[in-house]
Every structure is written in structure tokens, then in C-alpha cells.
Amino acid sequence: MLPRSPLARRLWAASAVLLASVVSVKALRGSIKPYAPEAPSYRQKGEAGAPVVIVEFSDLQCPACRFAVGPVKDLLKLYGRDVRLIFKHVPLNQHKLAVPAAVAAECAGRQGRFWEFHDLAYEKQLDWSPVPPPGQAEAPPPDQEAARKAFVSYAKKLGLDPAAFSACLQDPAAAALVEKDRQEADQRWVLSTPTFFINGRRLVGARQLSEGGVPWIDKILKKH
């Protein structure tokens, strides 16, 4: 059954190499399920029926996500009622304060101030999230208690009920919402933050969003 001529054998061998390559990548890639993004209403901005839906997967402790806040706001300002933004938490494992920060944002959301807390947490990120001192590669160990105090102070600054906010920080239901988002991120192969899906198209990082977001949204609106 195996070919006998050298040329046929070379073609057979080349096919085997290509087939092995495709099969191994496809097997690892698996399948991505159709996507219907859902999130509590306080984590959504814009009109419900907007033709463009931006789903942002972000980590409040991630510096790259902080740099993406401006470009996201620019897009919302530019397209106004045509765009809806949905925020999803992806607390990365290496960011030890990302889960408490996400839970605190959820707690602010329960009192209707998610976006204000989100903006403040990014603005003050360098205060509650330790960064490596100049000339050193490693950041100091995260201080959970200092971060908690910082989040409570932001809640006070935003006029939230401090008792309800502090109680919510211990509420497993708030943590469960964050965990649900993280699982969704895993299912969607979100490996870096921030990752954006604009009507299904993936853009990773502030630069891809800035350079690729506008042309893609223009294209969607042209077809709409």
C-alpha cells in the first residue's frame, strides 16, 4: 500500500508532516461556543439595543488595563448611542489583590456606583497595588489589609453606605460573580488582559483596541 517511487514517498512524507501539524493544533484548540455575553446591569453602559457591543475582560490590578481605560472612553464618546460596553472580571493569578478589587467593584455596583469605583480603582491603582521599587524586578508582597482599607476609603469617597459595603466584601455571592466571569474568560481563551470582543472580534491590549477598534466599528455600522 505504501508508495514505492521516491517522489511519491516524498509527497507522502510531506503530507504526514502537514497532517500531524494540523491535527495537533486543531485538537488543542477545541471549539469555542457561541457567545451571548451577560453581566449584571450595573456592569453595562449604553443602549440595550446598540448595534455594537464591546465586551471587556479586565483585571483591576493589571497596569495594561489601566492604560486601556482612556481608549475605551474615547470609543464610547465617539460612537455614543451606537455602542454598549459590558465589563467582565478576569483577576489574573499573579495579581494577588485582583480578586478583592473585583469583589469591591461588585459591592460598589450593588449600590449603583460600579463605574465610578472602576475609574477610581484604576486611577489609584499605584496606591493600593504594589509596584517594584526602582531598579528592582520584584514587587513587595501584596498587603490585603491595606488594599481593603483603600477600597473602603474609595467607597466613602463615592458616597456609598460603608457598613453595607464592608459587609458585601465578605459576601460569597459577590466573589461567586467574579469567579463566574473568570470561568467564562477561560472558556473564551482569554489569556491576557485587557481583552476586548467587539461584536465577536477579539482585540487584545490598548494598542489593538486603539488601532483596530475604530475601523472595525465603522465597518459594523456601515453594514447596520
Binding site: 504526514a16 508532516v17 501539524s21 495537533s24 493544533v25
Partner: protein, 154 residues
């Protein structure tokens, strides 16, 4: 002895490139594009997207070719070229003080430090030179194509 050394070098290097390429090719190309961006060596967005889509596939295909001993010298040269360019890029980030969130070497499964990655590239270069010098050797598709049996020698 020589043929076993060549076989070991190409199988090891082939397996490394199959693993690293598959992890990256299976992930969304935009993720690898972000890693390429972070090196600061390529500024064109279109070129970055093309590289992120094709580079992992080149690693997988040449990795399997080397593993199976098909077009062995060409595959070893191609992989040697990739190793040299990866090492140059990592060296550039070390010299420029660029802190990479992820070197992109093995997708997102394993993230060595830049110095570890440089050392690993040195090892890969030795394997590539061995495979290039000794050719397909035993248990290779090249030998099968030439002599008619999978255990033949070139």
C-alpha cells in the same frame, strides 16, 4: 554513535518546537500579537498580525519535519534561524530594559525568565547544529524516501 547523537538532537529540538508552536497556534492570534508588540521590535500592526498568525505554524511544521526527519537539513536550518532570531529579540529586551509580561516562547503554558530563555536558546542552537551536521540519520522519513525502509540510513 554519531547517528544516535543526530537522532537525539533532532527529536529533542523537534519536540520542543512542536510543543511551543502548537500552544501558540492553538491560542487566538491576537494574544501572540500582543506578545510580539511588547518586544518593541516591529511597529507595523499588519506585520505583527501576519507574524502572529504564521510564525507559530512555521514552528509546528518545521518541528514535525525535524521530529520525523523529513527534509532534515532544511528543517534544522530553518529552526536554527528561528532560534537565532528569538535569541536576538530576547537579548534586545534585556539590553533595552524592556520587561516582558510573557516572552511568548511556549504560548501561555510556561513563562521562563529572559535569561532562562537565552540559555534554552543556546541549547536549541547546539541541537540545531548537530541536526544540520549529521542530517537525517536513522529512523527518518528522509531515509525511508531514499532507501525504501524506515530504518534505513542516508
Amino acid at each position: 554513535m554519531d547517528s544516535w547523537l543526530g537522532l537525539t538532537a533532532r527529536v529533542l529540538l523537534g519536540l520542543v518546537f512542536v510543543a511551543s508552536g502548537t500552544l501558540k497556534a492553538a491560542a487566538p492570534a491576537e494574544e501572540f500579537a500582543l506578545v510580539i508588540e511588547s518586544y518593541g521590535l516591529v511597529s507595523s500592526r499588519d506585520l505583527i498580525l501576519v507574524m502572529s498568525a504564521f510564525l507559530p505554524w512555521l514552528e509546528v511544521v518545521f518541528g514535525y519535519a525535524l521530529l520525523f526527519g523529513f527534509l532534515t537539513r532544511l528543517s534544522a536550518a530553518a529552526i536554527g534561524g528561528m532560534v537565532a532570531s528569538f535569541a536576538t529579540a530576547i537579548l534586545y529586551t534585556i539590553l533595552k530594559g524592556i520587561r516582558l509580561p510573557n516572552c511568548g516562547c511556549f504560548g501561555f503554558g510556561f513563562t521562563p525568565t529572559p535569561h532562562q530563555e537565552l540559555a534554552m536558546n543556546g541549547l536549541y542552537a547546539v541541537c540545531a547544529v548537530q541536526a544540520l551536521r549529521r542530517g537525517a540519520g536513522r529512523l527518518s522519513l528522509d531515509a525511508w524516501c531514499k532507501t525504501g525502509g524506515p530504518t534505513g540510513r542516508t
